[in-house]
Amino acid sequence: MSQLLQIENLHAEVAGKEILKGLNLAVNAGEVHAIMGPNGAGKSTLSKVLAGAEDYVVTSGAIRYRGNDIAALPAEQRAAQGIFMGFQYPVEIPGVSNMIFLKAAVNAQRKERGEPELAANDFLAWVRHRVKQMKMDPAMLSRGVNQGFSGGEKKRNEILQMLVLEPKLMVLDETDSGLDIDALRIVSDGINAMRSPERATILVTHYQRLLDYVQPDFVHVLAAGRIVRSGGPELARELEEKGYGWLQAA
């Protein structure tokens, strides 16, 4: 198995406050990793640092993606190289239809990779296929990006974007929060559909619930800016029973 992502002794701060304090993580292609942990541990910070948000500053350590340090790479280039982040709070862009947005994203990524743009018809068919897969109303494609969407619709839209873009490394920040049980199943199916030997997924979550649908290979506990414990799926169940307190005390 080839290594897709390697994070070494990562320190990162936002607004001058250090959040990640020496984080280590290795993710191979084909794997699903779950990152759990109490509020304020740095889970969302990790997602944003991986996606390339500029107000999150890496102060030391390295993030290697397919062997290259990407710490200085702008967000759009990371996207083109296959890194996708599912937002905890997806952003609304009024007046810009989901269709236009998806098309702009796909073509920008293809351009960056030196590939030709997709023909309009092929693209439309591809998007419709994915919309159906996510059991969404095709009419949503002409609505503004996340404009007036419910919390659950927004999360579903994140997974739709992921399915359309077909990234290599998927970082999903609390994608399960705010979903009812039906939506959780659809979202999980979407995530599972992307599992393949070439891809890897990092699930950032508070709850065991999502992991019942998307089986992780590894579970990590993030506390106070570092991975304090790693294990298999059983670790998640243990956390569900005992909470995080016993780890922090240790």
Binding site: G52, D55, E76, I93, G95, A108
Partner: protein, 497 residues
């Protein structure tokens, strides 16, 4: 309501970098011999202009009356714009390409350099090309072109004449249809209406005239392109559009000017008259040279545009996309005189660098059950200042009048400003008025969201701005909506670091 971005709306530093160079693609100068009246304004100059244009006495009298009124008036100072005092004696009030002295009989006789200029601007002046199907998908658009002070050619005249539509330069209309011009000129915007309207009435040189007779629906879009080429020249065009009962027309004007260090004055007057059940749709894509980053040069765009819904159930709709001019002062308005008449104003105004705009509309409800809609979208970047100023007046007799106003501002960067000055005067208690206003900025979160999907910053800004303007773009004729989007994109070019 005024929003100052320096307090709560300070975006992060990367958006700061949005405010960079902007290319002005229409900024070339055409090297063409021209005949120009020396700078300065007096009754003699007005008589000279009138004589050059071989005008009838009544029009000279109209001009002189306006000039005498103008002398007694003072420049308006209430707008939220700042500029040095204009020296009206330093402006030349008439410039014409020399080859126009013996007016061409057809486009074939027009100076090839002029044609080249308009080709550069992408104006389909050569109707034969369009007719020959060079651009097969493009709908037919009749175009009148005004270069500095004179009209250089109107296309599709024959086809329009067959439908009974008159579309020509105002000078030609004065010669060929004096009774029509005399009946309507100055009836919507009187000579003494305001300082710049009075100046225009005194010295206007050319512009377009449209007359659509009873029951006729104009068979194609009409369009005028205005171009200021000469240095130190003012452009004072005059447009008059009349739709008789049940007539309809859609008209578009486009404007550009070369890049020059000095400021140039553009003081136009546009009058629209809609009789019973007539509909006039007037769209503007204005891209006058806005000046450079430091605010050097650029057009002063001081324009009076007014439509009179004179007949019952008539409708006048203004749509404007404005990205140009150093300073804009304009309020396309509707007088809703006829019962059940409808007025609309859809506006996108983009200001960048040191541009200043004070723009909006007036909806004057005089008739019963009159309705008006105002949608204004303002975008400010750089050090630009923009104000929306809108008046909704409901008079005593305007039983059942309605107005809906929506006014949104979008800020890019932390040094620009957006201000909203709504005025309402209601003298009839049955009126229903709604006013919505928002001020937002292109957020870091929106940009990051787009970038995390692979969309670069510049494209993201352009996409977000287009989304913001969607409600207005959908009011533009299709082909011009595309043009307007491109124009915004160009205007925001280099806006990202």
């Amino acid at each position: 309501m005024a929003a100052n971005p320096s307090d709560t709306l300070v975006p992060a530093k990367e958006i700061e970098a949005l405010v960079q160079n902007r290319k002005y693609e229409a900024g070339f100068v055409t090297d063409i011999e021209s005949e120009r009246v020396p700078p300065g304004l007096s009754e003699d100059v007005i008589r000279l202009i009138s004589a050059k244009k071989r005008e009838p006495d009544w029009l000279l009298e109209f001009r002189l009356k306006a000039y005498r009124r103008w002398l007694t008036m003072a420049e308006p100072k209430w707008a939220h714009v700042h500029y040095p005092k204009i020296d009206f004696q330093a402006i030349s009030y008439y410039a014409a390409p020399k080859s126009m002295a013996n007016a061409p009989k057809s486009l074939a006789e027009v100076d090839p350099k002029l044609i080249e200029t308009y080709n550069k601007l992408g104006i389909p002046l050569r109707e034969q090309e369009i007719l020959a199907g060079v651009v097969p998908d493009k709908p037919q658009v009749a175009v009148d072109v005004v270069f500095d002070s004179v009209s250089v050619g109107t296309t599709f005249k024959k086809k329009l004449a067959e439908a009974g539509v008159i579309f020509c330069s105002i000078s030609e209309a004065v010669r060929e249809h004096p009774e029509l011009v005399k009946r309507y000129l100055g009836t919507v915007v009187p000579v003494g209406d305001n300082y710049y309207a009075a100046l225009n009435s005194a010295v206007f040189t050319d512009g377009s005239f449209v007359f659509v007779p009873k029951g006729v629906r104009c068979p194609m879009e009409l369009s005028t392109y205005f171009r200021i080429n000469e240095r130190n020249t003012g452009q004072f065009e005059r447009t008059l559009i009349v739709c008789e009962d049940d007539a309809q027309v859609s008209y578009l004007e486009g404007c550009t000017a070369p890049q020059r260090d000095e400021n140039q004055l553009h003081a136009a007057v546009v009058e629209l008259v809609a009789l019973d059940r007539a509909e006039i749709k007037y769209s503007t894509v204005q891209n006058w040279y806005p000046g450079d980053e430091e605010g050097r040069g650029g057009i002063y765009n001081f324009v009076t545009k007014r439509g009179d819904c004179r007949g019952r159930a008539s409708k006048i709709s203004w749509t404007q996309v404005e990205t140009g001019s150093a300073i804009t002062w304009k309020y396309p308005s509707c007088i809703l005189r006829g019962d059940d008449s409808v007025g609309e104003f859809y506006s996108v105004a983009l200001t960048h660098h040191r541009q200043q705009a004070d723009t909006g509309t007036k909806m004057i409800h005089l008739g019963r059950n009159t309705r008006s809609t105002i949608v204004s979208k303002g975008i400010s970047a750089g050090h630009a200042q923009q104000a929306y100023r809108g008046l909704v007046r409901i008079n005593e007799r305007a039983e059942g009048a309605r107005n809906h106003t929506r006014c949104d501002s979008l800020l890019i960067g932390s040094n620009c400003g957006a201000h909203t000055f709504p005025y309402t005067e209601v003298r009839n208690p049955s009126a229903v008025l709604e006013h919505e206003a928002t001020t937002s900025k292109i957020g870091d979160d929106q940009l990051f969201y787009c970038r995390s999907r692979g969309i670069g910053e510049e494209e993201a800004v352009s996409m977000i701005v287009n989304g913001f303007c969607k409600d207005v773009f959908k009011e533009l004729p299709m082909e011009f909506a595309v043009e307007a989007q491109k124009l915004l994109q160009v205007s925001l070019e280099g806006a990202v670091g």
